[in-house]
C-alpha cells in the first residue's frame, strides 16, 4: 500500500516531465537551423542541401532543380513578392545574371511562401531573366535555414556553399560570386 502510494506521484511526475521535455524539444526544433552558417564560418564548404529536389518552374511549365545548374557558379536567392528588400535587390541580381552568364554562372531565384500570380507579376515588373522556381510550402528553403527574406547563397561549381547572406545583398556579395565564376 505504501509502495503504491509513493509510486503514483512518481509516475505522474515522470509523465509531466516527459510532456515538458517534449514541448521544449518541439520549440527548439521549430527554430531555423544555422548549421550551414556555422560550417561556412569555420571555412568549410558544405554541399548545398536538397540540390536534386524538383520544384515547379515559375512562369513556365515542368520542374527544375539546383542540381540542373551543377558545374556553374550559382547565386541561390530566396525571395517573395511581398518582401520589400527583395524588390530592392532584384535589379542587382538581374545585373549579376548578365555578367555570370558570360562566365559560366547563373542566378537561381526560389520563391518563398508566395502566391504564384504575385511572383510572376514581380518577375515581369523587374524584368527578371534568370530561372526561378516555386517553393510554395517552404520546405526547400527550410533545408537552407531560411526563415527571413531575402536570403542568398553563393554555390561553387562543385555544388558547395561558399558564402551566405541572410538579408538584403549588396554589390560586394555579387562581385565575389562573379570573381569566383571568373577564377574557376
Amino acid at each position: 500500500m505504501t509502495v503504491r502510494r509513493r509510486l503514483i506521484p512518481i509516475l505522474v511526475s515522470l509523465a509531466g516531465a516527459c510532456l515538458i521535455g517534449l514541448l521544449v524539444y518541439g520549440i527548439s526544433t521549430q527554430a531555423a537551423s544555422r548549421t550551414l552558417d556555422e560550417q561556412v564560418a569555420r571555412g568549410e564548404q558544405p554541399p548545398a542541401p536538397d540540390a536534386t529536389r524538383a520544384l515547379p518552374v515559375l512562369g513556365g511549365t515542368g520542374t527544375g532543380s539546383l542540381a540542373a545548374l551543377k558545374g556553374k557558379v550559382v547565386i541561390l536567392n530566396f525571395w517573395a513578392s511581398w518582401c520589400a528588400p527583395c524588390q530592392e535587390e532584384a535589379p542587382l541580381l538581374e545585373g549579376a545574371q548578365k555578367t555570370l552568364l558570360q562566365h559560366g554562372g547563373s542566378v537561381l531565384g526560389v520563391t518563398y511562401k508566395d502566391i504564384t500570380s504575385d511572383s510572376e507579376r514581380f518577375m515581369r515588373e523587374f524584368h527578371l531573366t534568370y530561372p526561378n522556381l516555386r517553393d510554395g510550402g517552404g520546405s526547400f528553403a527550410s533545408s537552407y535555414g531560411t526563415d527571413q527574406l531575402p536570403e542568398s547563397f553563393i554555390i561553387n561549381r562543385r555544388g558547395n556553399i561558399v558564402e551566405i547572406s541572410r538579408g538584403e545583398i549588396a554589390a560586394p556579395f555579387v562581385q565575389r560570386a562573379i570573381a569566383l565564376a571568373e577564377s574557376t
Partner: protein
Amino acid sequence: MRGRPARLLRAFLACVVLAAATAGASQAASVSLPTIERQVMCVTCKIPLNVAQSPQANREREYIRTLIAEGHDESEIKDALVVQYSSAVLGLPQTHGFDLAAYLVPVVVVVGLIALLAFLLPSWRRRSTASPAEPSRPISSEESARLESDLARFD
C-alpha cells in the same frame, strides 16, 4: 387512403430538399474573410491569420478576398490556399516526424489516465467498504442542556 401516405412522403421529401438547399445557400453566403481567417495560418508568422500582421499575411488576406469575390466556397478557398502555401496553411500537424506527437500524446494521456483509474479505483473502493462511517455518539445531558440554552438565546 392509399394516396395519403404518398402525399405525406412527397411533402416530407420536399421539406428535406428545401432544408438542404437553404443550408447550402446559407453556408455559401456565410463565406467571409473573418470566417476563413480563423481557420488558416499566416505561413511565415506561424500564427492564425486573423491575428497576424505582416506583409505576407496581408497578401494572403488579399488573395482570400479575391477568391471570395470570384464566388468560391470555403473548401475551394482552402484548397487554393493549400496549392499556394502547402498544407501548412491549414495549421494541422503533419502525420510524420515530431508533429505526430500532436496526435499520439492525447491518446497516451487518456490511456494513462484510464490505467491510473483502473489502478486506484479498487483500492478506493476497498477503503470505503473497510472503514464505514463512525456511528454518531449520543450527546450527554450536559451538552443537551447547553444546546437548549443556546437555542433559547436565539429565539
